[in-house]
Symmetry: C2
Subunit: 200 residues, 2 copies
DNA sequence: CCTACCGATCGGTAGG
DNA sequence: CCTACCGATCGGTAGG
């Protein structure tokens, strides 16, 4: 910020972040490639040049949006590492944290999960996601060594199925109350750890 | 077919289906929108006009590919309805069948799962997916009424989490042997029904 | 921030 | 007369 907080100078237009919010919405609706800067300008009620005032390229919009999601997800791992509990407890903490990030950063995570690696920005984001998945796989291995996670299945397959379930939330979740998000995290943990079958 | 099977006339080029296979690969690699007919022609080693000989539009390529995935998935429901077992048994049959369709029709299902509804063809495909999901939700309700599925969670949330896990397979599965696909189906059923925790 | 544009490439089609 | 194309180019629109 180059000027005092709270003061407004120049036109009462968009700042970088409020423009990013609209852009990410459009990217999720039409797909990143299919969203032209022209379409975006129309949505914002500005010109294309107005967008290039805040961002140097279409890809910078994508990069900033992906970073928002990845920083939040990586933060969940930071919380976990500080914990003193068993691997199983820390795993539950990561699952709960990831569900909350998905819900709180829904549009950014949605965009992240659709990245395919078609550019350096996308490949970099995929690399950060891979590191996250590796850390969770490691946690699953530890929980398995503890005897709290079933041993008849490969930890990396388990990780993919677990986060396949978690990540799919972006496909259908409609933001409601914070209690709703906590309930969803409980449901995910219940299904992931104990399955759909009635608890025996 | 207008001529005898086995006979070849004209150039030994692509037929509609072999061209579709290459197109679907490209759509999954770059995204449907980001894949131009020109790029496709380059991959095929043909001209754009050669593609338009076999397909009336780019969208017809998408439509035929999506239909291949949807027909296979709908077939799984047909198998289930013929079964005489409990709802729980039929649900397991659908899960196993869906995993096999994902593996056997991997590129087509991958494409289907990335459809966002940006055209009539895409919206029609989403409608057929919704009908599939509705049928599975109904099956989960029946299994719950039977007492075989936990009752502390909404059947439609359960369906979304279950198929979120199943569908995520397209993000990482690399086709290997048929035994491998059967093993994957077993793993999915184990995690979905009994969870990651050690069986008590 | 706007208007006025650029080099290039898009999906699709012509005649042969 | 068929299937399977080619070289060239159309009117519009993309990101910048």
């Amino acid at each position: 910020m180059a000027h005092q907080p709270g003061t407004k100078r120049g036109r009462p237009g968009y700042d970088q972040h409020s423009m990013l919010v609209v852009a990410v919405e459009a990217f999720n609706e039409f797909g990143y490639d299919a969203t032209s800067i022209g379409t975006l300008a129309a949505r914002l009620g500005t010109s294309k040049a107005a967008i290039y005032h805040h961002f140097s390229s279409k890809e910078e919009l994508l990069e900033l949006a992906l970073d928002e999601a990845l920083t939040a997800l990586e933060g969940v791992l930071g919380d976990e590492q500080a914990d003193e509990g068993t691997a199983s407890d820390r795993l539950a903490l990561v699952v709960r944290g990831a569900v909350h990030v998905l819900v709180n950063k829904l549009p950014y995570v949605t965009l992240l999960l659709r990245v395919r690696g078609n550019s350096d920005v996308e490949r970099n984001a995929l690399e950060r996601r891979k590191n996250f998945d590796r850390a969770v796989t490691q946690l699953l291995s530890e929980a398995r060594a503890e005897g709290s996670i079933r041993s008849d299945l490969d930890p990396s397959v388990a990780e993919r199925l677990l986060f396949g379930m978690i990540n799919s939330i972006v496909e259908w979740y409609k933001p409601k109350s914070p209690e709703d998000a906590a309930r969803l995290a409980d449901d995910v943990i219940a299904v992931a750890f104990d399955g759909l079958r009635v608890p025996r």
